[in-house]
C-alpha cells in the first residue's frame, strides 16, 4: 500500500509542473489526441451509420466491420501504421490508427440508434406527410441519440486506452511515464500515471453516461416503465426491434 502513497506523492509533487513534459501537458496531450480522433471518426462514421440505419442496407457489412475490429489488436495496428507511413510522420500515423479504432463503435451506435426506433413511429411520421429527410432529422436522429452517444462513449474509451499504448512509439500522453518508468524501474511514477489515466477514463465515461441520459427526448421518458425486472422487460425488448418488412 505504501506504493500507492508514493504514487500520489509523485502525482502531487511540484516536479510534475516544472519538469518537461509536465504532467498537465501529458494530460492535455492525451485529451487532445482522444478528442480529435473521436471527432474525425464521428465525422466519417455517423453519416454512414445513419445511411445504413435509415435504408437498412449494408447492415451485414457494418456488423462484420465492428466484429472484425474487436479482434484487431490496437497495439499492433499503431506500430504497423507508424512503420508503414514513416517514423517522421508518427503522430499522423497514430491518429489514423486512433480514428480507425474509433469508427466501428460509432458506426454501430449510429445505425443501432436508428434501427431501434419503433417502425410504427416511422410509419406514423410518413403517414403525416414527412419527407424521408424530415423523418431522419426529426424522428430517427433524436430518438437514436442515446445509442449514438453510447457508441461515442465506447469509441472514446477505446481511444483513451490506445493513446496510452502509443507512448511506446514516443507519442506523449499519459502512457509516457509508464513506458519510461518501465525501463527505469520507477514504480511510483508508473502507478501515479496509471492512476491519472484511470481518473481520466472514469471522468470521460461519467460525462458520456450523463449525456446519454440528458439527450433522451422528454416524450420518450414520459411513457417508459420504471421497473427493470418486471414482466414487461421481455415485451419491451421485442417492441424495440423493428419489423423486418421495413428493410430493403
Amino acid at each position: 500500500m505504501s506504493l500507492f502513497v508514493q504514487a500520489f506523492a509523485w502525482i502531487f509533487s511540484p516536479d510534475r509542473l516544472s519538469e518537461s513534459p509536465s504532467l498537465p501537458l501529458l494530460v492535455a496531450q492525451h485529451v487532445f489526441f482522444t478528442f480529435v480522433s473521436v471527432i474525425i471518426a464521428a465525422v466519417i462514421a455517423v453519416p454512414i451509420g445513419y445511411l445504413i440505419g435509415h435504408t437498412g442496407r449494408g447492415r451485414e457489412i457494418a456488423v462484420a466491420i465492428s466484429g472484425a475490429a474487436r479482434a484487431l489488436p490496437s497495439f499492433g495496428l499503431i506500430l504497423l501504421l507508424v512503420i508503414l507511413i514513416g517514423v517522421t510522420l508518427k503522430s499522423e500515423a497514430a491518429f489514423i490508427a486512433f480514428v480507425l479504432l474509433g469508427i466501428p463503435s460509432i458506426l454501430a451506435g449510429a445505425y443501432a440508434g436508428i434501427e431501434a426506433v419503433d417502425r410504427r413511429v416511422i410509419d406514423a411520421a410518413r403517414a403525416v406527410g414527412m419527407t424521408e429527410w424530415q423523418i431522419l432529422v426529426r424522428v430517427e436522429i433524436p430518438l437514436g441519440l442515446p445509442l449514438l452517444i453510447g457508441g461515442l462513449r465506447a469509441a472514446t474509451l477505446q481511444v483513451v486506452a490506445t493513446v496510452t499504448l502509443a507512448a511506446y512509439i514516443g507519442l506523449g500522453g499519459l502512457g509516457l511515464p509508464i513506458i519510461a518508468g518501465l525501463a527505469l524501474r520507477r514504480f511510483d511514477q508508473m502507478l501515479g500515471a496509471a492512476i491519472v489515466i484511470v481518473a481520466l477514463a472514469l471522468l470521460l465515461d461519467g460525462a458520456f453516461a450523463l449525456a446519454e441520459r440528458l439527450v433522451v427526448p422528454r416524450g420518450v421518458t414520459a411513457g417508459r416503465t420504471k421497473d427493470v425486472r418486471s414482466t414487461s422487460s421481455r415485451r419491451r425488448a421485442v417492441m424495440g426491434t423493428p419489423i423486418e418488412e421495413g428493410r430493403g
Partner: protein, 224 residues
C-alpha cells in the same frame, strides 16, 4: 514474404503461446460471471452495484490495469499472473452483464410454469433458465473471447511473450511484414475461436434461434 518464410516456426510457437495465455481468462471469466450475473439479475441492489462496478472496471485502459494490479494484489509486475488476472477482470466485466441480460430475457411465463410444476429455484435455474439464457450468454462469451485474444498482445509490455512480441520486435527492427504477420495471426486466432464457439453453441443448444428462423418468428410478436 521473405521474413515469414524464414520465421514461420517463431510465429507458430508464439501463436501457441498466445492461445495458451488466452484460455485461462476466457474460461475463468465465464465461470465467475455466472454467479455474478445471477446476482445482478436477481436483486435490484446487487444489480446496480455489480453492473456499475463492471462498467467502471471495463473503462480502465489495459496498460494502467497491468500497473495498478500488482501493488494491490502483491504479485509481481512482470508476470503471467498479472496478465491473466487483468484479462480475467475484463472478461468478467463483459460477461457478467451479458449473463444478467440473458437471464432477464427468459420469458417470465416459462419461469412461472417451471415453478408451478414444482421446480425448486436451484433446479429451475440449471435446467430451465440457464439453458434458455444460453444463446445470449454465448453472445457475451464471444465478445469476451475475441477481445481477450486481442488484449493478450499488450502483455508484451510487461514481458509476457505472445504474438505481441512480433509487434515490438518488428517495430524495433522496422520489419513491416513481422508486425503484419502478428496482426493477422491474432485476428486469425480470434476468428477461429469465435467460429468454434458458434459451432459449440449450436451443438450444445439446438434450441437456440438461428438467424433466418428468428426473423420469421419475431413478426407476430411485434404485431401484438
Amino acid at each position: 514474404m521473405n521474413w515469414l518464410i524464414n520465421n514461420w516456426p517463431l510465429v507458430l510457437s508464439l501463436g501457441v503461446q498466445h492461445i495458451r495465455l488466452s484460455i485461462p481468462p476466457i474460461v475463468l471469466g465465464f465461470f465467475i460471471s455466472i454467479p455474478l450475473g445471477w446476482l445482478a439479475y436477481r436483486f435490484a441492489l446487487t444489480r446496480g452495484l455489480l453492473l456499475t462496478l463492471a462498467g467502471l472496471l471495463y473503462t480502465i485502459p489495459s496498460l494502467a490495469m497491468f500497473v495498478i494490479l500488482p501493488p494491490l494484489l502483491g504479485i509481481s509486475f512482470l508476470s503471467e499472473l498479472n496478465l491473466t488476472i487483468a484479462l480475467t477482470i475484463y472478461a468478467v466485466a463483459i460477461m457478467s452483464r451479458s449473463v444478467a441480460d440473458a437471464l432477464g430475457s427468459v420469458d417470465p411465463a416459462i419461469r412461472q410454469s417451471a415453478t408451478a410444476v414444482g421446480f425448486g429455484s436451484w433446479r429451475r435455474f440449471w435446467t430451465v433458465e440457464f439453458p434458455l439464457a444460453g444463446p445470449v450468454i454465448l453472445a457475451g462469451l464471444r465478445v469476451a473471447a475475441v477481445s481477450t485474444i486481442s488484449l493478450v498482445t499488450v502483455g508484451i509490455l510487461i514481458g509476457v511473450d505472445s504474438l505481441g512480441y512480433l509487434f515490438t520486435n518488428g517495430s524495433q527492427r522496422r520489419i513491416v511484414l513481422e508486425i503484419l504477420s502478428g496482426v493477422i495471426a491474432v485476428m486469425l486466432i480470434a476468428l477461429v475461436v469465435d467460429f468454434l464457439l458458434v459451432r459449440l453453441g449450436r451443438l450444445l443448444m439446438p434450441w437456440a434461434p438461428r438467424p433466418e428462423r428468428r426473423r420469421a418468428k419475431r413478426e407476430p410478436e411485434v404485431a401484438v
